[in-house]
């Protein structure tokens, strides 16, 4: 049991050896750690079998005592999975199959020789990269929210404590007042990472000010944006950071119950979160009188059931109450009347993951990163037509060009970059012209897209933008909850119009009508989901008007869906 900050420090000292090799210090007994990625991406390409084979071969060769295998959370470089990292050598192996286990043991473990064929090959120079820090994918990244993903075993609270988990909570409870905690978060400039960008400290302050016998803190882990998976990776790779941050938030706003609303489609994240919660309870880090203070807090899980709109906070609260996940009119805001009518603070997983480090390292440290109004870092899920698919965490203000060409390694197959969709189905496209725009909340809004939860889908010259818009509209049409007319009927009509266009049956007048309808939905829908639903249409119309025109005017295309012949292939509208 941990009853004071002192106890926690003792624990940390006791377990710090577990991490010694990974921090390139000498460790007693063990000489090598083999870190194998156990994230969903790598598991689906057999990383479990890699672990099993490594275990068997290590045992057969007599290395079982001196070499330890650690199943970590996501390293982020999902394109190259399964990933195996050898510490303290800092060697990063990619696309490791179960059959490669033998070479890793017989060459690397036994003789200290790197297995060249498993090293990452730089697509630009074709040279093998020997260490993780030299890899272009990692060079520009600054890992704050993902700081422990790929570093610790998420199913072991001792490793988490060794990397300073629960230190911030201890500090907050024993040395800081509730206002001081809120003040630090406010000063850090942290804004909601789920997409809205609302200042987190302010949200906490508003909830704290409410007079109520009962308050709640909810973690929004209903990651619905198709193509974004940072929240899942954080929960799978570092669940304790989220639990700790929820406790800190609960202390600040005056809540004693927390709920994690999580997608049922994330079984691994659910399992790891459950493990983490019960381990925290065992050590007294959740439950009654935490750190010997009179602060009590516990966390329960509520499962989503597949509804994109439940990412909206009022809808999420309805769903937590077991109802249809339809949004409510605001005000009252959840901070005033939320879960069962009590003041409730809803924050996103990634937002929470930032909190503990902000408290331990200070607001100044955090706000030294990023731009004037968007502080810190942001995790993006880079996917689509890009060489290095994966999760990247970069300081706010980095340009799209840096992300796509330096971290992402450019477009595969020598194709030309066409556009990138940020903000998922609620966002818009950014084109070549915006490649040098600094990425932060406000500048993305200014160019007609949004930050969203951080999905970043790259498209190349082969992608038809009208089809892309139609794809997103189909998604929002399916996911619109039906509460308001613009959402229920408007998105359906908009989709039908797009369908007609891509079938080559639409007229100019219909194209104009579609534009009008898009703006009408934007201005009249009830909640964020449908207010932003027309964004993909509006932004592709703005940047790729020619592609819409090609469908409308081209008589050779009576059923031209998805086809784009060179004759009418038009690039970016200049």
């Amino acid at each position: 049991m941990i009853k004071s900050l002192n106890d926690l420090n003792q624990f940390r000292k006791q377990y710090s050896d577990m991490l010694a090799l990974r921090e390139h210090r000498n460790a007693r007994g063990t000489r090598m750690n083999i870190m194998v990625c156990g994230g969903t991406g790598c598991l689906s390409s057999d990383s479990d079998k890699v672990i099993k084979n490594l275990e068997l071969i290590l045992k057969a060769r007599g290395y079982a005592d001196e070499v330890k295998i650690i199943r970590t959370g996501c390293f982020g470089f999902c394109e190259q999975g399964p990933i195996v990292k050898i510490e303290p050598d800092n060697v990063f192996y990619v696309r490791v199959g179960p059959k490669d286990a033998k070479d890793i043991v017989d060459e690397h473990v036994a003789k200290g020789n790197r297995v060249e064929r498993l090293l990452f090959e730089d697509p630009l120079t074709n040279a093998r990269v020997h260490t993780q820090v030299e890899m272009p994918f990692y060079k520009k990244q600054v890992r704050v929210a993902l700081r422990n993903c790929g570093v610790i075993n998420p199913e072991n609270i001792h490793e988490a404590i060794a990397v300073e988990a629960y230190e911030a909570l201890g500090k907050a409870l024993t040395q800081m007042s509730r206002d001081e905690v809120i003040d630090v978060v406010k000063k850090s400039g942290l804004r909601g990472r789920g997409g809205g960008g609302f200042p987190t400290g302010l949200k906490w302050e508003i909830t704290k000010k409410q007079e109520s016998r009962e308050k709640f803190i909810i973690c929004n882990a209903d990651e619905g944006d198709p193509g974004a998976f940072m929240d899942r990776s954080i929960l799978e790779g570092d669940p304790h950071s989220v639990i700790e941050a929820m406790a800190i938030g609960a202390y600040a706003i005056g809540a004693d119950k927390g709920i994690v609303y999580i997608r049922a489609e994330y079984p691994l994240a659910v399992a790891r979160l459950n493990t983490a919660i019960s381990q925290a309870r065992e050590l007294g880090l959740l439950g009654k009188s935490i750190f010997g203070t009179d602060f009590c807090f516990d966390v329960t899980l509520k499962y989503g059931a597949g509804a994109f709109v439940c990412g909206e906070e009022t809808a999420l609260i309805n769903s937590c109450e077991g109802k249809r996940g339809e949004p409510n009119y605001k005000p009252p805001y959840p901070a005033q009347e939320g879960y069962w009518g009590h003041p409730t603070c809803v924050n996103n997983v990634e937002t929470f993951a930032n909190i503990p480090v902000i408290l331990t390292k200070g607001a100044e440290w955090f706000s030294s990163m990023g731009t004037e109004k968007s502080k810190g870092t942001k995790v993006f899920a880079l996917a689509g037509k890009i060489n290095n698919v994966g999760l990247v965490e970069v300081p706010m203000g980095i340009t799209l060009r840096e992300i796509i060409y330096e971290i992402g390694g450019g477009i595969p197959g020598g194709k030309r970059f066409k556009a990138v969709q940020t903000g998922g189905p609620s966002g818009g496209v950014l084109t070549e012209k915006e490649l040098d725009t600094p990425i932060d909340y406000d500048s993305l809004l200014a160019v007609g897209s949004m930050m969203g939860s951080g999905g970043m889908i790259v498209m190349d010259e082969d992608d038809n933008m009208v089809n892309i818009a139609k794809f997103y509209l189909e998604f929002t049409m399916d996911e619109a909850c039906g509460r308001c007319n613009p959402g229920r009927i408007g998105t359906k009509r908009l989709f039908e119009m797009l369908n007609k266009i891509t079938q080559g049956k639409a007229t100019m007048a219909e194209l104009d009508a579609m534009k009008q309808l898009a703006y009408l939905i934007k201005s009249s829908a009830l909640c964020g989901l449908c207010q932003t639903a027309p964004n993909p249409v509006i932004s592709t119309m703005k940047h790729f008007w020619n592609e819409y025109m090609a469908f409308v005017k081209d008589v050779d295309h009576p059923r031209g869906e998805g086809r784009f012949t060179p004759k009418n292939k038009i690039g970016i509208k200049s």
């Binding site: 999902c78 198709p226 509804a307 109802k323 996940g325 889908i457 794809f471």
Partner: protein, 172 residues
């Protein structure tokens, strides 16, 4: 005439009933209960929904309202193998729509339908989070990454083959 709904063994209802009674409170627990029910019965037919409604003392319409709202809940029985084609954005731009079409053509069914022999149910799902392997499909729990149109037949046959082997075993 509409065929009668399948009758489920009492044991299944008992299990669900016991689960509901084990809950500290049923306030706000409808979704959890439906998750459990779907786990037990495989899907949520009308009878099961009514059973839940009566247990909780709420109108059947309220239960149906929730069941029909969430895409995770299904009111139709599934085939033996569920083929989920990821239609997340990352998979879409890498050609998932063509993969889905190919499955539809080969199985002769639309999305969310089951083949006549009850062997396959085809689903288009939102992002299973393996974007690095796009386009991705999942059969039951197994993920197939970087799927090409040519692979579709092999994947279907893999499961048909397994089925045939099982039948052989039984006949022997």
């Amino acid at each position: 005439m509409k065929p009668l709904e399948r009758e489920f063994p009492k044991k299944m209802y008992d299990e669900l009933g016991a689960y509901i009674e084990s809950l500290e409170t049923t306030k706000g627990a409808l979704i959890e209960i439906l998750h459990k029910a779907q786990e037990i019965f495989g899907y949520l037919p009308r009878d099961v929904q009514l059973f839940v409604a009566r247990k909780l003392g709420i109108p059947g319409a309220e239960v149906y309202g929730v069941v029909s709202f969430y895409s995770y809940f299904t009111t139709k029985p599934s085939g033996k193998h569920i083929i989920s084609v990821c239609m997340g954005t990352a998979c879409f731009v890498r050609g998932a729509d063509k993969i889905l079409e190919k499955f539809k053509e080969r199985l002769g069914i639309e999305s969310n339908e089951t083949t006549e022999d009850s062997l396959f149910t085809l689903k288009d799902v939102r992002c299973i989070g393996a974007c690095g392997l796009a386009p991705v499909i999942m059969v039951d729990g197994k993920v197939y990454g970087r799927v090409k149109e040519e692979d579709v037949d092999a994947i279907i046959n893999e499961y048909r083959g397994k089925e045939a082997k099982e039948v052989d075993k039984v006949l022997k």
